[in-house]
């Protein structure tokens, strides 16, 4: 069967070839043949499970073959031929400008009406722009408050409470207010710096620079890192920024050990969390 197919193909191409005069550039023919093979291959690959790499290669062959055939055809088969067009600066002549002015002048001047027209048009524009306000809720101190308030317990996932003994010295965990799992604004880094109740600190986990989660901690240097813009905060010194672009300390959440042995907040953050806005210090 394969021999028959080869013979048939040979006969067909031989017949075609005899009728093609003058003989075409073999490179162009090869590129076009390659392109057709690429297209065929793309379909075959798609049907046989659509491997991404083979799809990419076959499509690139199909497009690249066709593209290079065109470029080769221009470069090898067409004599270099330059055309010349006249060029004038696109400046209108005095007559053309005058003709336009005459057309425009057919509009009668009514200064008062024109002014009213402008006013009414402007009012309409304003009115049409107002519905854009539907895009957002009104700000109202929302950014200044979080879910923390006095008595709210620290949890790891909104339900599982955190006790002072859960952390050894140099250890860190991410805590959320009870009932607010994965609250991105209220999240804190709880770190044990030393033994005892005073050895625990909780800092906002939202970077004061651009708002990413301050997710990296280096116990040896006692620094918190933000991976977005490489700000660094000194945990021993009130989470003050010591390197990188942040300009404000991470707000510290006031915490205590409650009567049930669970850590709880004694209030909200004293400072706004997250990126700074222009506001009274």
């Amino acid at each position: 069967v394969r021999g028959l197919l080869v013979a048939l193909l040979g006969l067909l191409s031989g017949l075609l070839w005899r009728r093609v005069r003058p003989l075409p550039d073999p490179l162009v023919v090869a590129a076009l043949g390659l392109s057709a093979l690429g297209s065929l291959g793309f379909v075959v690959v798609y049907v046989l499970g659509a491997d991404t790499r083979l799809l990419g290669v076959t499509m690139a062959t199909a497009l690249g073959g066709l593209g290079s055939a065109l470029v080769l055809w221009v470069r090898r088969d067409m004599p270099r031929h330059l055309v010349e067009e006249p060029w004038e600066p696109p400046v209108p002549s005095t007559e053309e400008r005058e003709a336009l002015r005459r057309e425009l002048a057919r509009m009668p001047r009514r200064r008062f009406v024109e002014r009213l027209l402008l006013m009414a048009g402007g009012a309409l524009g304003l009115a049409l722009a107002v519905p854009a306000a539907s895009l957002g809720p009104r700000p109202g101190g929302r950014r200044r408050r979080t879910a923390w308030e006095a008595g709210v317990r620290l949890t790891t996932d909104g339900t599982e409470p955190v006790r002072p003994g859960d952390l050894g010295v140099g250890e860190i965990l991410t805590a959320f207010p009870e009932g607010h799992p994965a609250d991105a604004r209220a999240q804190v880094n709880l770190i044990r710096l030393a033994e005892g109740d005073d050895g625990l600190v909780a800092y906002s986990r939202v970077c004061t620079h651009a708002g990413c989660a301050v997710g990296l901690y280096q116990p040896e240097s006692q620094r918190l890192f933000c991976p977005c813009h490489q700000s660094q905060f000194d945990v021993l010194d009130g989470a003050r920024p010591i390197a990188g672009p942040a300009g404000r300390a991470l707000p510290r959440l006031p915490i205590e050990s409650g009567p049930d042995g669970v850590l709880r907040a004694t209030g909200d953050f004293p400072d706004p969390v997250g990126p700074s806005t222009w506001e009274r210090a």
Partner: protein
């Protein structure tokens, strides 16, 4: 009876005369005139692949569970948006090819625009009467950057989430209106249902429509004003010499279009880009490390990383200059200067001269020096966008790398500009003998 469909149309609209003239339009045959075309071709690939992606993407933050063909994410909770992107990558035949080709095409689109802009800038092609088309081109670049960011945010993965939070931080740093603007543009970042559908409309309709319209305007103005040309024998202020639109330029251009497509599909098939499945779905409490935007946004990230942490109190008001200056003012200045450049240069010309023959960079040492200044600064800021990568490669602390880059940003651009100026003047003098 009309012989061909073309003649049939011609007998009804009478296009022969116009077409014959149009087919003889002269295209300068210098390679640098093809950079803009490459950008246009990348745009064509973006539209084609983007259309495919649009049919599968789901702009919804509804929580669903992934049950597709990618084992590590089996049973993971994620937004419908993220699930649809992971499904596009693993469950839709040819989906990953289209996604990756789309992403590569976006990079090539922006880079080709910048290269084209450099060609037009350094040869003075933007001068009278072509200032308007320069402005349209700069707007196209700005829109390309905006759409790149919107597209980067759509997969709703960890990186996309970080990008949006940083954008919110940058908007918040705007005096007085920051908070209102952030809420208006992004809504509540925690409620991503609205945000994703807005980003989707921006990315697939608003900005692409604006891009297509402005590309059409760009072309229409070009056709009316015709191409500039380099100073060569036979080329004057009163002619355009080059290849005819048909057949030479059409064939060459079509060939390059297909070859650009070939490169993009080869990249899309073979070189992984933005593997969202490896970082996982968006989670406001997790931030990936490292965090890097796309190549063409790195200069923004770099500026935010390099700027010192200035948050001074001005008259009792805390001013987040550390975000406002690099995040808001710098891009505005960059695009402001770009938009104004032809007019700044035009004002220094005593008369209303129409420029048709191009400068070589050495013919305008001052302009070349400013351009080199800008490109050097852009390069340094782009490097700063990867300061963590640089630090890891050099085994140096990030602070040190930052310090060095800060100094370089102040020293290197003026130095490079000075050198460029001297080289231009020297070469011009050598030519004059």
């Amino acid at each position: 009876v009309s012989a061909t469909p073309a003649e049939w149309v011609d007998e009804r609209v009478g296009a022969s005369a116009v077409a014959a003239k149009a087919l003889r339009k002269a295209f300068p045959d210098h390679w640098s005139f093809l950079l803009g075309e490459i950008a246009a071709f990348a745009f064509a690939v973006l539209v084609g692949t983007g259309l495919f992606l649009t049919l599968f993407y789901e702009a919804s933050a509804q929580t669903t569970v992934y049950t597709g063909a990618y084992p590590p994410l089996q049973g993971t909770e994620m937004s419908a948006a993220h699930r649809s992107v992971v499904a596009l990558s693993f469950d839709v035949p040819a989906g990953l090819l289209m996604r990756q080709t789309h992403h590569w095409a976006a990079l090539v689109f922006v880079l080709a625009i910048v290269a084209h802009l450099c060609r037009v800038f350094f040869t003075g092609a933007f001068r009278r009467p072509r200032e308007l088309n320069w402005v349209v081109g700069v707007l196209l670049l700005a829109l390309a950057l905006v759409n790149g960011f919107a597209g980067y945010s759509l997969p709703d993965d960890l990186l996309a989430g970080s990008g949006l939070r940083i954008l919110e931080g940058v908007i918040l740093s705007i005096p007085l209106a920051g908070e209102q603007l952030a809420l208006l543009l992004l809504g509540d970042l925690l409620d991503r249902e609205q945000l994703l559908s807005r980003l989707f409309v921006v990315h697939v309709l608003l900005v692409p429509a604006a891009l297509a319209t402005l590309i059409a305007v760009h072309m229409a103005i070009l056709l009316r004003q015709k191409h500039t040309q380099h100073r060569r024998p036979g080329r004057t202020q009163r002619n355009v010499v080059g290849q005819a639109l048909f057949p030479e330029h059409a064939m060459l251009s079509g060939g390059i279009l297909l070859c650009v497509g070939a490169v993009l599909f080869a990249l899309g098939g073979l070189v992984e880009i933005n593997p969202v499945w490896r970082r996982g779905p968006f989670d406001g409490t997790v931030v990936p490390s490292p965090v890097h935007p796309d190549l063409y946004q790195l200069w923004n990230s770099g500026a935010l990383r390099l700027f010192p942490g200035w948050e001074p109190e001005i008259l009792g008001v805390r001013a987040p200059l550390n975000v406002f200056l690099p995040g808001v003012v710098l891009p505005l200045v960059v695009f402001g200067v770009l938009l104004a450049w032809p007019f700044l240069e035009g004002r220094r010309e005593p008369e209303k001269v129409h420029h048709h023959l191009l400068d070589r960079p050495r013919d305008a040492p001052g302009r070349t020096a400013y351009g080199v200044f800008a490109l050097t600064l852009l390069g340094l800021l782009t490097a700063a966008g990867g300061n963590d990568v640089v630090a890891r490669a050099l085994h140096a602390p990030v602070e040190t790398v930052n310090g060095v880059l800060q100094v370089l940003c102040l020293v290197l651009p003026p130095l490079a500009a000075l050198v460029a100026y001297r080289v231009c003047v020297r070469r011009r003098e050598a030519e004059r003998g």
